[in-house]
Symmetry: C2
Subunit: 315 residues, 2 copies
């Protein structure tokens, strides 16, 4: 398999991206080839310096960079030779099997929309995040920001996408799906949650356990937690801030270490036709290495094929 | 002033309610009279046992109790001699100046709606909570669950109610108001946030500082944070769960102690014509004492009068 990385994206590019590649390859992945996309004049010396085995890596030159604060659509349109645009061109042309970037999130989302297809039957893709639970496990939360307003049908689709991810990537046989809500019983919540509940209950492809409240998010109640992207994004960023605050206050505990989102190495864009992983802007080497490992899992488990079959069956 | 307490509400009633009354009176509040509402056969021995000074306390007998899990509307209708119904009757008849209960939250909300008026000009009341900030202060978050779906105008009204509360109760001269959102710039967010932003910006009665994201909620960014009750409730319960988890894991730190919601002693129902404070079901003596102190502040600052004048000016 051939996995491409945007080497110019993120606050610590390209150094930490190259370190991440080196770190991943040190673990010895014989059947993985990495395509590193970026400015070759910066990348080649770094690859040499870190003694990255050239047999496992191909440099694809992309002379332009989309900055973290550029307007996504405008930047993608104007910078056709940027690492993000080149990466998506490779993915759309099936030259690579997955694309990873810690660069401008908006540009990644616009790029996926522009260069890739949405899986047939999926209304809109979603982005997810892993939330650490108090018992050591994790739960998948989606959407975390791509769809600020949602129809009830979308929440039901997120549940399917999330369940397939939990099963094939996290290895949970029969993942429990919870609807994020502000009450336990059916009928509670805002209009969206009230309408989504019966759809989730009737959805034959998921194991729906009912509503879960804010207090349940960090507990081992559900493996997949669905909500619209507004609430999901607030939850994600609040959880990230808890990690930041505990670090600043030097509150050291294994539990809070698990809120270090670098451990999870980026979030896959679920619902598009090819594997795309979006990293945090502050990604460093471990995050890049973890994102490559996640891409390997997505490809080797044929997660996308499974999503396509599932939605084809629904179409 | 005369403040009434529902002595039968909450998981530790009536014992902890009586202890809370004793605790409050020990601090010596000469001008405060307390009306304790509940089963006199249970209350009188407890009041005697704890040597609560009878000159400061009047027992009003209410032989019925609304359970924590009873259906609010049904229970209020059938149990006209319950402590919650009797308390609201006293408040509606101006026999008391404020009413406090840690009982069935739904019944308190229905009771307020049934027995009291909404302040003229206010679309719907809201409930708020104090959120501890990383620098030692607190921010007021509203709505936290009463209005699962909101119109943009409601968010603008929450900003006014919250600002008056922050000024007159928390003592913040010119409270900064933030709109909880999923992006920094105007135009970001879901349809509600997009529509609320210009209303908040144009609102002459508040000091609007723009959007605040999930990562800002625990930081010293805004003194008043507005959102619809769905998101607010998720934030509140997530924050409460962090406190619970740190206790279970025995992670002791002054910072997390501040997430003990008992410190804040209940949440006022903002937008109704009389002071009503709703306590957490798990309230113990310190929470009851703090709720009485909060009621004292609300009455002595004439918060309700100030809210009424502000909205009268708008009507």
């Amino acid at each position: 398999m051939n996995i491409a990385l945007d080497m110019m994206g993120g606050d610590f590019a390209p150094d930490e991206a190259v370190r991440g590649v080196a770190r991943f390859l040190t673990a010895g992945q014989e059947n993985v080839h990495l395509t590193v996309v970026g400015d070759q004049d910066q990348l080649n010396p770094l690859l040499t310096e870190l003694a990255v085995p050239s047999a496992h890596v191909t440099v694809v030159h992309a002379p332009q960079v989309i900055g973290m604060h550029e307007h996504p659509t405008k930047a993608l349109k104007e910078k056709t030779q940027s690492s993000i645009a080149v990466g998506f061109q490779l993915l759309a042309g099936r030259k690579i099997d997955a694309f990873i970037s810690a660069g401008n999130t908006g540009a990644m989302l616009v790029g996926a929309h522009y260069f890739l297809k949405t899986i047939k039957g999926v209304i809109r893709p979603a982005i997810s995040t892993l939330i650490p639970k108090n018992n050591g496990g994790t739960g998948l939360l989606l959407d975390v920001g791509l769809n600020a307003d949602c129809k009830p049908e979308q929440l039901s689709q997120f549940a399917i996408l999330g369940s397939l991810y939990a099963r094939h990537i996290s290895g949970i046989e029969n993942p429990r799906v919870g609807l994020i809500n502000i009450g336990e019983e059916e009928g509670k919540g805002n209009l969206l949650a009230q309408s989504a509940y019966p759809l989730l209950k009737a959805n034959p492809f998921i194991h729906f356990i009912g509503n879960i409240e804010g207090r349940d998010i960090l507990l081992d109640r559900a493996d997949v937690m669905v909500c619209e992207g507004f609430t999901g994004n607030i939850i994600l960023k609040l959880a990230e801030s808890i990690y930041e605050i505990t670090r600043q206050k030097e509150i050291r505990h294994e539990y809070f270490e698990r809120f270090n989102f670098e451990n999870y190495g980026g979030t896959p864009l679920l619902g598009v036709s090819e594997p795309v992983i979006i990293g945090h802007g502050i990604s460093q080497a471990p995050a890049f290495a973890n994102m490559i490992s996640l891409a390997v899992k997505m490809i080797s488990s044929d997660l996308l094929g499974k999503m396509k079959s599932r939605f084809e069956g629904l179409g």
